[in-house]
Symmetry: C2
Subunit: 391 residues, 2 copies
């Protein structure tokens, strides 16, 4: 496992973000719960070129705090590329020289797609907690509407890590004829009590912040910065492994050799957490944090015994990957997905990747990981015509 430095040469270069209104007027978004959203805008980006046969599209589903900017730069002087620039680009595992890659911002998010901080057209005010609860299936509905807008009917693959993997799984289960394959990375089909507990405390931290103002903070001009920072800091501990944190921070002090001794930042790991908590405020909305974490808690696709029957019939292959040091969604979560898929004879490959970096590994350049994804996508691309015929 190595960590390659980013360079401009192996990037997709300057990319543009688009926003499209996918639901409105006569065609509102009807959620799985039956609730209705009158208007839904979706932010998205694409990389690479759709081929003439329109069968080289790969859809990227992002995790809890991701966005539509998965690869490339928005401007020449961007100091950071998209969140999955390690994975997506020319010659990279999701190879933009061969594939047409689509990434959007999730429904309920806060980076261009309609979410609880958006204005409710019925009231002219932000939705706040009046925004309806979402399900992973709703994300898939919106992704599919974006695909239709782009004139893409079939996907070569749908790929996602963490909550992105949940979407890839749900999409493959619900619309297998559309999904040529699915790559489900560091995900879970069923959070356990500890997973739910961490999210529950994060949400309480946000909702109990006086600045949350019952979810009306945008109107009253406050913001639950403390609650959201604490939630993010806690989450960052769970995204890393104990060994990884020891390697990165150990007991090193932030300001020289010696301890300052006090309640301010002193250990390097405290400085890291403080920084992560602060920068998160500028890019994420507290209500989105509530809505998107709660989606995961309730996700349980295999509660329906026949959930994978349609997928098994179509035979779209799935690749399930976990990381051995990930304890937020450890390998047992991935094995449970594999077990359910195999039980219904879905063709599924599984690999536990060695990496010391915990849950965050799915965002990093880990050779074995990238090779495995690249090989899987190469295989499904090559086998595509045969599969089409078989149908």
């Amino acid at each position: 496992m190595t960590s390659r430095p980013q360079s401009a040469e192996d990037s997709v270069g300057i990319v543009e973000q688009c926003t499209v209104r996918l639901f409105e007027g006569e065609r509102p978004l009807v959620l799985a719960s039956g609730a209705v959203l009158a208007e839904v805008d979706v932010a998205y980006e694409t990389y690479g070129t759709l081929n003439d046969t329109r069968d080289n599209a790969i859809f990227i589903c992002h995790a809890l705090t991701g966005d539509a900017h998965a690869a490339g730069l928005h401007r020449d002087d961007d100091h950071r590329p998209g969140w999955w620039d390690t994975m997506i680009g020319p010659g990279k595992p999701i190879d933009t020289d061969r594939f047409f890659v689509i990434a959007d911002n999730l429904l309920g998010g806060c980076q261009g797609t309609t979410g609880p901080a958006s204005t409710d057209p019925a009231t002219g005010r932000p939705y706040g907690l009046d925004f309806p609860l979402l399900q992973i299936a709703d994300f898939v509905t919106v992704h599919r509407a974006l695909l239709a807008h782009l004139g893409v009917e079939q996907l070569l693959s749908v790929v996602g890590g963490s909550m992105g993997g949940m979407q890839a799984l749900q999409w493959a289960l619900s619309f297998p004829e559309q999904v040529g394959s699915a790559v489900i990375i560091a995900a879970s089909s069923r959070l356990n009590a500890q997973n739910i507990a961490f999210s529950a405390v994060a949400r309480e931290s946000i909702m109990r912040d006086p600045g949350f103002a019952g979810g009306r903070y945008l109107e009253v001009g406050t913001s639950p910065d403390t609650g959201l920072s604490i939630a993010r800091m806690m989450a960052h501990i769970t995204y890393q492994s104990e060994a990884g944190m020891n390697q990165k921070f150990g007991r090193r002090f932030q300001f020289g050799e010696d301890a300052r001794r006090g309640f301010g930042v002193d250990f390097a790991v405290e400085s890291y957490l403080d920084h992560q908590g602060r920068v998160f405020l500028s890019r994420f909305d507290a209500l989105s944090y509530l809505y998107l974490t709660r989606v995961m808690d309730y996700f349980d696709p295999f509660a329906d015994d026949d959930a994978a029957a349609a997928l098994a019939e179509v035979g779209s292959p799935c690749l399930v990957l976990s990381f051995d040091s990930d304890w937020r969604f450890d390998t047992s979560h991935s094995r449970a997905i594999v077990r359910e898929l195999e039980r219904q004879r879905v063709p599924v490959s599984f690999r536990e990747i060695r990496s010391p970096w915990g849950h965050d590994s799915f965002l990093l350049t880990i050779d074995d990981y990238h090779r495995t994804v690249a090989a899987f996508l190469r295989r499904v691309a090559e086998e595509r015509p045969a599969k089409e015929t078989r149908r």
Copy 2:
């Protein structure tokens, strides 16, 4: 491993808590840092009877949120016995029919012993953040002063779990001639980055609560209830194992078969955390939480290479115990203590106890655990005279 129900018959019965001023006037408490506390009161309890040779005393050191009420009941209608009533009592591993047991509330605590919420005699106001930073060595200083007050010179053993184990270790290292043996349970001699991180986020949660008021909340009449609750909820996740939480809560809903779906309590584990966060407020002080967690972060006794030289010379045996599902202070922490003690030829026994209950295991009735502690204490009690002679 079993969990026996509590019964009044095997308890030490009704116990009384005492408070004594151990430092004042001409004899203030001089801390390891050089800082001085003019007055220190200490709350303590004792169980069993000191024998004529005054050599059957065992000192109990409590963990982060413990207190002097380690065993028995304060009143007939007490619905809960002391925090270590499973361990301490007639016929129990720390057998009050044989041993004289002493437990106190820690310096910096909030249950009868002087702490940051106490009144600073110099100002007539609560110390707040003017209370000096503490070290584990300071706890030992106060424990020793209490011993002197009780007319006890020698301890048969000093016993503690988690931060209590840190005190037992420090006491044995610093004053081995006083400590006949030490039982160090689920402890650490050196927190790692993840350990520090969890405490750091807990402290930030408290300090960023507007009710904290820069540590002056007692004077201004606010209280950082949100911050302290969040800290406690997060801590409770880390005190339990993933498997233990699955066993206790799984994905069970709190209110019947079905999900309520929303942001309130819905899963049973959410109800549990909410309850733990709430009840903690009535018994714990936010400033104490800051001071006592910070003590652990800086604890690093083996930074001094010869830390165990004196203990090795005296030859007081140590028992180090860990629990296989404890991930807050996992077995590697205990092994590190054992390695350091063995390196300097301190007689040390080590056992990793099987238990699914994580860090909390040290508070529970686990047969193998209790048998091991009981056998160790029996052995040191029997070998005591021989050892005295050898000196």
